[in-house]
Amino acid sequence: MAGDRERPIVVGAGVNGLVAAFYMGREGRAPVVLERASQVGGIAATEEFLPGFRASMVAPLAGPVTPRVLADAELAGHGLEWLESPVRVFLPSPEGRGIVLYSDAEKCAAEIARVSPGDAERYREARAALEAMAPFFVRVLETTPPAVENLSGSELFRAAKLGLSLRRLGKKNMLRALRWLPMPVADLASEWFETEPLRAAIAARGIFAARLGPRSPGTAARLLFQVAPWGDPFAPIIVPRGGMGALSEALAKAARAVGAQIRTEVQVERILVKDGRVAGVALTGGEEIAGRTVISGADPVRTLLRLIDPAQLSTGVLQKIRHYRIDGGAALVHIALDGLPRFRGLDSGSSSTAPPALAGRIQIGATVDALERAFDDAKYGRISAEPYLEVTIPTALDPSLAPEGKHVLSAWLQFAPYTLREGNWAERRDDLLQVTLRLLENYAPGISALVHGARVLTPADLESSYSLTGGHVFHGDLAMDQMYSMRPIFAHGCYRGPIPGLYFCGAGTHPGIGVTGASGLNAAREVLPDLRRGGS
């Protein structure tokens, strides 16, 4: 068996794997990173889906990436350029102008005041509350959760520190945070706003990539994890120039710069276990790499049920992972457009530059009830009759992604349940494009005529092309019982796997709410002391 046993092995060069590799390298423990695909990035990849048209295929937007990773990895020095949209969310209306939620807080409040002066006031209040809470939520995201199964010694200390940072918010905001976290996001949205599209804009973040509806308890926590660190009810839209693949490439450079070795087109077939601890990995083709430490960026089901021999796991762990909910509920529709779609009531500007409203998230799904109904269909194994669409037009900010004058439109479509009660995904793929265009026609009439071509990723495609079990982009449903200390499974929720030497660093760990890099950051922090102990 080749390799230095002390050199850690990272399975998968997704954003979290690369972030973990960077932090380990920085501390003199650079790993070897093994990636199945020909390029790094995992779900954060830019691909040419039609000649001349490129899109961020699975993750259309960055989480945004957690501030500490951005600062530490100095990605600008590795060629990354961030583009920030002047608009965070655009809520088009079939009738008129819709609502444009600007990144600038005052401009945003003024726009909200146009539809509801009361809501503008509430927006300011919610913003002030979230700004005050931001340090706590940044801490929640960027630190390892206390291991609740063992609340003694250091874990109790960890919990106490977390409690202290919560107390530091002051009694009012502390109570607010505790009350908000387990709530259904629909209730929080109605506390914040009276205007239905604004409520829906809030609710949609709470259910993004979940198999939950806005009335499901715990969805407010999902929202808060995404927005509270940024101190605003609507998180900023910050994308890498060149699509998400550019982020991954910059991270790969940063990791290499600190000594990480990244190998692509090598597929890990098995994580080897000897005498009850990790011994290395076996690659497809027979090569074996020895290593006492394996950090898996693959999803927990793939890691524990496919890469590891089940005989090495206790029945308790096997039972837990078999009940881990990892069926995805969303699909992606990428459309190449011959021109910019014209949304009703929106000043389209000149043909060469897109109106700012189109540079953020464009949300189709105007009421909380509509989102809930979309979820109802998924409960019974149907594609939503009126799915919620989160549309981005990446070319509005970054024209380099398409030939001149042409555009790319990416629609996140929810719900499209992994397991269909009738039919299969191969025969339903085209339905997803049709329903997307049908819905968009209500807001941007004539869009169908601009279609040059399209590429649809069903949950089955997400599974087969991107190694996502169940087609779930978050590596497993992010609901209260699969969250925080219990993510992915109880007693193994703090980046440490159930076998000595095995760690998790993917989205199947806390926080797991999109491309933030926080899982990789936290995982590296847990691995490093163990490496030092083992190495000495």
Binding site: E149, R179, R215
Partner: protein, 530 residues
């Protein structure tokens, strides 16, 4: 203004009466004021159809705290609990029957799945262990993480130490019960769909959630928390209906010297300089008291009985956000004969327990879907009991009363109002029953349909919520009813809450009434000794 009391208790429901009994026994001069002619609040027995006596609202009991039964000597005051024999779930061409005989239940479940029959016993044992762990918390006030007092800190440490003392498997179960949906929790144990559907029903009762909504496993646990291994086994009937419970508590309170008045509706809580100093009745009569305890819910107490200026604006805002969202109704039937179920015809032991219309998980979930958009369930979940098979005196010889708890019936209807939809709702319930017991229509001598609006009007439970507010995670423990105000006190000095809206919540449990009394007496135990 002649009379003056140490404590005046608003509301003569079971919690108000428990509260009064404890205070009177400690030597306080106590007055209980009940607006209705009958004591008991939602635990009352009334003759709705001539000759037929109904537990009009709540209809079964298991949660009543054993320390209350013991300390108030309720058995001597007439409390008698009769066994409720299992749960029968009729299905199309089949049935699922769990009965108070473990071997028989095992055989019945094994007809569906041998694995489930095995798991059912493990599940029962696990729930007993979990309830033993959680139970002491029902006898203590909730620890408040927002306070820094030594007592709170000590209590948190006590909880942590208890947590450290249980094994890993039980920790996992507790964590699941706190965060999962009822179905996700049950999925880990069982594969039989009607079994999961019927068991999950306890997870939604009194909430506006579905069996797949996260958080409902906690409500399931709440319903399991009856005295499983004590004086009673599981659920039971009170002799002479749930009014019998209220009467026994009232007897204990009266014997200890409490004065109890019915048809005395409180119109206002009197305050001066931020202190409660009595109540004014609708008759105009004013009654002075050093302490006022309200067993009513927060909306009734803080919004109806107080002026906005009596309370801090922030507190009022929180009260305004408190979620009631009544989701259930009740249909009481006077029957000429017994219902005859197609899947198990004839009169048998299966009719003596709970009869659950919960044929599948999808049936339960679809019932919730209707409610989400403001309709009563076209095919509702129904929990039926026929108490006359156990306690024949409730109806004339040979006749029966049947009590049907129905969910979902949302308080806010999208179309029409409850006064015009009441009978349509009743019809939907009868339709759902007749699908399994077609003779039901022919044997009905009288029916009473209670919508959430009726429950609000008659008993004063806001929005008809049977728990005085949803048992959702943000409304439990130190956040019940309002964060930082879970210790029975209120911003008005001398005003206490002693009803189900206070920790640990609803059901015929009596714990809030007792704990609030101990708080007033300043004898509240810090640890789980009861």
């Amino acid at each position: 203004m002649a009379e003056s009391y140490d404590v005046v208790v608003i509301g003569g429901g079971h919690n108000g009466l428990v509260h009064a009994a404890y205070l009177a026994r400690a030597g306080r001069k106590v007055l209980v004021l009940e607006s209705r002619p009958v004591l008991g609040g939602a635990a009352v027995t009334e003759e709705i159809v001539p000759g037929f006596r109904f537990s009009v609202f709540s209809y079964v009991v298991s949660l009543l705290r054993p320390e209350i039964i013991r300390e108030l000597d309720l058995v001597r005051h007439g409390l008698e609990i009769l066994p409720l024999d299992g749960t029968f779930t009729p299905l199309e061409g089949n049935y699922l029957w769990r009965v108070d005989d473990p071997m028989r239940t095992r055989r019945e479940i094994a007809r569906f799945s041998a694995l489930d029959a095995e798991a059912y016993e493990d599940f029962g044992r696990a729930m007993v262990r979990i309830c033993r762990f959680v139970r002491p918390m029902l006898g203590t006030p909730a620890p408040d993480p927002t306070r820094i007092s030594w007592g709170d800190f000590e209590q948190l440490l006590w909880l942590v130490r208890r947590w450290q003392g249980i094994d890993a498997g039980d920790k996992f179960l507790l964590a699941q019960l706190g965060t999962s949906s009822a179905i996700d929790f049950l999925d880990r144990w069982f594969e039989t769909d009607p079994l999961k559907a019927t068991m999950s029903a306890s997870g939604i009762i009194g909430t506006f959630l579905g069996v797949r909504s996260p958080g409902t496993a906690y409500v399931l646990l709440h319903h399991y928390m009856g005295e499983i291994d004590g004086t009673f086994r599981a659920w039971g009937f009170s002799r002479d209906g749930t009014g019998g419970i209220s009467r026994s508590i009232a007897g204990a309170a009266a014997e200890a010297g409490a004065t109890i008045r019915t048809e005395a509706r409180v119109a206002r809580i009197l305050t001066r300089n931020g202190r409660a100093e009595g109540v004014a009745l609708e008759s105009g009569e004013e009654i002075r008291a050093k302490t006022v305890s309200s067993s009513l819910d927060p909306r009734q107490t803080f919004i109806r009985l107080l002026e906005p200026r009596d309370l801090p604006a922030e507190f009022l805002e929180e009260v305004g956000r408190y979620k009631f969202r009544g989701s259930s109704g009740k249909v009481n039937l006077a029957l000429d004969a017994l219902p005859d179920f197609t899947c198990l015809p004839g009169v048998g032991r299966h009719l003596r327990g709970a009869i659950s219309i919960s044929p599948s998980v999808e049936y339960m979930e679809r019932a919730y879907d209707d409610a989400k958009y403001g309709r009563f369930s076209r095919q509702p979940y129904i929990d039926m009991v026929i108490p006359t098979l156990t306690d024949p005196q409730l109806a004339p010889p040979g006749k029966h009363v049947m009590s049907c708890f129905v969910q979902y019936a949302p308080y806010h209807l999208a179309e029409g109002d409850w006064d015009s939809r009441r009978e349509a709702f009743g019809d939907a319930v009868i339709d759902a029953i007749s699908r399994f017991a077609p003779n039901i229509r022919k044997i009905i001598l009288g029916r009473q349909v209670l919508t959430p609006l009726d429950i609000e009007r008659i008993v004063g439970l806001s929005e008809g919520n049977i728990f005085q507010g949803e048992l959702s995670p943000e409304q439990l423990f130190f956040q019940r009813p309002v964060g930082g105000w879970a210790r029975y006190r209120t911003p008005v000095s001398g005003l206490y809450l002693c009803g189900s809206a206070a920790h640990p919540g609803g059901g015929i449990m009596g714990a809030p009434g007792r704990l609030a009394a101990l708080e007033i007496l300043r004898q509240a135990p810090i640890k789980g000794v009861s």
